[in-house]
Each structure stands twice: as C-alpha cells, then as structure tokens.
C-alpha cells in the first residue's frame, strides 16, 4: 500500500512554485494548471517508486517539461477560447524597457524545447547538465539554445524604440 502523505505535502507546499514554472512554459494560466495537474497525476501513479519528496518534486518538473515539449503540440495546439482578454497589468510607462514584456516576447518567439531550456536554466536555475538530463538532450544543445536565446534578447533590446520623453507625446497617424 503506497503512502501518499509525502505526495500530499508536496502538492500542498510546492504546487504554487511548480505552477509558476508551468505558467512560464505555457504562457497561459489555465493551461499551466492543466499541465501541472497532468504532471502531478503521473507523479501520483509513480509515487511508490520515488525515494522522497525532493525526488518527487524533481520528477514533477521533469514530467512537466516532458509533457510540455512532447504533448503540448498534440493536446493544446488548438485555439483557446476565452471570454476575457488577457490582462496586461499595469506595466512600466516605458513598455519596451519592461523586462517582462521583452522576455515574454522572447519566449513566444522560441520553440517549445528552447523555451523549456530557458525557463529551466534561468528561472529554475538548473545547471546545464541538469537541464540536459531533464529534457533528454545534450549539454551542447542546452548551451547553443541558451546562447541563441540570449542573442535574440540582445537583438530585441537593441531594436527597442527609444523611450518617450517625460511629458512628451507620441505622434501617431498621418501628419
């Protein structure tokens, strides 16, 4: 009989953190919850074979990355209808300078695997080797993906529009 006490504790204490990772993968709150739920379900089914809660959390993240990079295309590629428009939030008055927007644009431009590499490497702070193990790719691929992502980020930063001058007004339309 498998004891699920540790699993319940993991779910209660670590779910919010894991949901943040799932959100960075999918870019959508509902899809993130679905991804987390799928990963937790797989972990629940394998819980008897996992050593402890830390191994359990690592397993959840690994499954999330795997499900996201392999299943995502098949399962969630359709349009996602919603009644509410995504909330942008109150961002910096100089939009291009807001890191969130730049990084959000960057993530959107990456493939799923590249996106997973970036999130695991720079949000989860995993080593290149751990990222490679988790995604089942080589360390070289992780390095090249990271370098490419940083290059894109640099390119998008250099092409940013100049910020508005304080008190100034942007001219739009025909003169």
């Amino acid at each position: 009989m498998t004891d699920y006490t540790g699993f319940n504790r993991l779910l209660r204490d670590r779910s919010p953190a894991m949901l943040r990772t799932a959100f960075l993968f999918t870019g959508d709150h509902y899809l993130a919850e679905d991804l987390l739920q799928a990963a937790l379900t797989k972990t629940y089914l394998r819980w008897g074979n996992l050593r402890d809660e830390r191994a359990g959390e690592a397993y959840v993240r690994k499954v999330m990355a795997s499900v996201y990079t392999r299943w995502y295309r098949r399962k969630w590629n359709a349009e996602y209808p919603t009644l509410d428009l995504p909330e942008r939030g109150a961002l910096d008055p100089y939009p291009a300078s807001d890191d969130r927007i730049v990084v959000s644009e960057l993530l959107r431009s990456l493939s799923r695997r590249q996106r997973a590499v970036v999130v695991l490497r720079f949000f989860e702070d995993l080593s290149e080797k751990d990222v490679a193990d988790m995604l089942g790719i080589s360390v070289g691929t992780v390095k090249s993906t990271t370098a490419a992502a940083l290059a894109k980020l640099r390119a998008s930063t250099s092409s940013e529009r100049p910020p508005l001058r304080p008190g100034g007004r942007e001219e739009v339309g025909n003169a």
């Binding site: 959100f23 739920q37 089914l45 807001d98 890191d99 993530l107 940083l150």
Partner: protein, 229 residues
Amino acid sequence: MTDDRDEERLRRGLQGLAADGSASPLDTRTLREDVRRRAHRVQAGRRIAGGLGVVVALAAAGLWFLAEQPQVAESPINPANSSSSTPAGTVTSSATPSATASPSPSAVVPTPVNTRPSTLRVSLRVTSGQPSPEGGSFVAKWEVTWSGGSAPVYQVLIEEPGPVVRTSTEIGARCDGPVGPGSAHGELLFDSPGPHEIIAVVRAKDCANRVDRQTDTDIWTWSQPTQSP
C-alpha cells in the same frame, strides 16, 4: 559582460512573468482531488486495457486454432462409421485428353502424408495414352483407386510437384454416405515425354468436417502405347 547583463535581464523578466502568472491563488485542495480522480481514471483505464489485452490474446489464439483446424483435421478420422463399407461406385473423371504415353512400371506404393495411422489406402497408376488428334503432345492416362478409411471420399486431385494441381475431381459423396473402395480416372496432357512425377491426392471427410488425406506418387515416362486387340 554583455551576457551577464542579458542573463540578469532574462532572470528578472522570468521572475516578473512568473509573478504575473501566480496572481490568482491556487486551490491545492481542489487540485489534490482532481489529481486523485485523474489518477484513478488512468489506473482504471490500464486495468481495462490489460483485460482487453487478455481477451484479444485469447481471441487471437482461438482464431489461430480455427485457422489451423483443417490442417489438424488432415489427420486420420476416428474409424467411427467404418462398419458401413458399402462399395462406392467407380467415378470417372474427365481430364484434358491428349497424346501418347507408355505404361509406367513404377510401383504404386501409398505415401501417407501424416504420421498418424490412417485406414484409407490410395493407389495411382499412370499409363501412356494414344496421341491426341492435335498431335505433338504426350497423353498420360491416370487411374486412382482407394479403399478403407472411415469417411466417404469427396475429392481426388492430380498434382505435379510444386504443388501444381492439374485436375480436381469432385466425387460428390455426402458426408454420411457409404464408405468403401472407389476409383477415378482421366487423362493428362504433357508437352514432353518426361519423366513426370504425378501425385494423386485423395480426400475423405466426415460430417464433423474432419478430413483424411492420403496420397500416392507415380513417376511416368511416355512410351508408345501398346495397341489393345
């Protein structure tokens, strides 16, 4: 240096985005219930799939057995109704007529295909026939006789190695008909004088569809047929 700054910016951006994403609180109790329900559904699905796998395997084994059934039934039939040994009438089979042949001196030794004992005995005799009116061909006159067995003979095949069926003669006996000796004969046309290997296959079948199959082989070479007085 640039990389470090870019990395730092990437980290800041990811942190900010993650904070946006977790703005709405996560109901862990609901999540736990959902996970448990989903896991039980998966487990039930696996159990059903396992059960279906067993059913499919059994069905496949059954189909294989049924497919193999005629082959298995090629083994001799239990001599259940061997007591009814009413003589069956001689069957005349019509094969393609043609040229000449010589009486083969080859011995007619029944060659049972099955290792299991069968009471059905088959004998093939091939002789040379008169040349066909078209000429240029070699006619083999064959005669198959059989006796014994426990079911009525329903088919006689004349084959060449390959096997190539040269002629098939349906006896038309009912499965519950009389069991007894019988014969069939006909002619075959060959392009060369031979020697030719000719195989007679005799099949008997009872009402339970159990088939008894016995063969006899003859090696025949054409020779000028002797004129009968």
